[in-house]
Symmetry: C2
Subunit: 188 residues, 2 copies
């Protein structure tokens, strides 16, 4: 990917984040890039490529992250901590792309959407493995594994709705808080 193409991709991600994929026009992207709409097509195949790349590049980052965590021989609590940390880091380091990844994957074409959902399931599976490990190791209480993994991921994913790079909480503080919350809960 050329430098220019990458720049265009990032500009697009910023706009997609702001207004959503469907509500962002090619003309919007061109304007932000300081170029005529037609000129974009010297770099990209079409609008959908920008969405596609964003979704799948993020999916790959997340998947690689969880696989690395699950390959290490630690106890489940440590693994969970690492998984949360990795997730929050990817997310805050690519906040624009992360929002698109979360919100707009639905607008992928049918084929790619199916592929995307599979990757997503694989990622969720990584979290289920950790929770199951924790139960087997006697570290976690015997919760519904699927449900627990989903709930943890909820908290992680919602970050994109409120995270502010200029806010007072750093990525690792957020991650620490989140791990604490999912591990210990509110109870004193």
């Amino acid at each position: 990917m050329t430098e220019r193409k990458l720049a265009i991709l990032q500009i697009a991600q910023g706009l997609f984040m702001e207004k959503g994929y469907t509500a962002t026009s090619v003309r919007d992207i061109a304007k932000s890039a300081g170029v005529e709409p037609a000129s974009l097509y010297s770099h990209i195949n079409g609008k959908e490529e920008l969405l596609d790349r964003t979704c799948f590049e993020m999916a790959e980052k997340f998947l690689t992250g969880i696989e690395e965590v699950n390959d290490i021989y630690f106890d489940a609590a440590q693994k969970l901590k690492m998984a949360v940390d990795t997730h929050v880091n990817i997310l805050t380091n690519h906040i624009d792309a992360a929002v698109v990844f979360q919100r707009d994957w639905r607008h992928l074409n049918e084929v790619r959407r199916s592929e995307f959902i599979e990757l997503r399931n694989a990622y969720e599976d990584g979290f289920r493995v950790i929770v199951q490990n924790g139960i087997d190791e006697g570290l976690f209480s015997e919760v519904d594994v699927k449900f627990a993994a989903l709930t943890i991921l909820s908290s992680l994913n919602w970050i994109v709705e409120w995270y502010d790079p200029k806010g007072k909480l750093t990525a690792s503080e957020i991650a620490a808080n989140l791990f604490n919350f999912t591990f210990t809960g509110l109870k004193k």
Copy 2:
């Protein structure tokens, strides 16, 4: 609101849920309603009215719910349980509208969007009050109140991404699981 208008609103909500507000055309709605596009305008002022009604009717339901909970004199744990229960019930009973409420409020016009955000903040505040109560009562550990409320709401809101009315989990089972998780965490 006439019967016909309500029917159109619900049809629209179903489509908005499926494809998103922006990606749903007036012609799509008309087709689903079995009517010509122009005929819709005998009932509604425009496409945006459908979004507006959906967002604000849901906001009102949520706000009323949390206010009722916070008006009752119970301890924080019980209040939290009730708040979670109410939230899950509203959400599962109006799943189409809930998805739109969560996902597409961004496409309200500027004025209405501001009003909407205010209502949302008021709702979040309701949860913050509960968490703060819990700390004051010595029931909850001394967490970051804002962060905790946000994390609880994350889990609640994410339900719309996976809830299946025909699934095996009932609304009250989901609510019970969620309360348990936020209160106790994973730790054994």
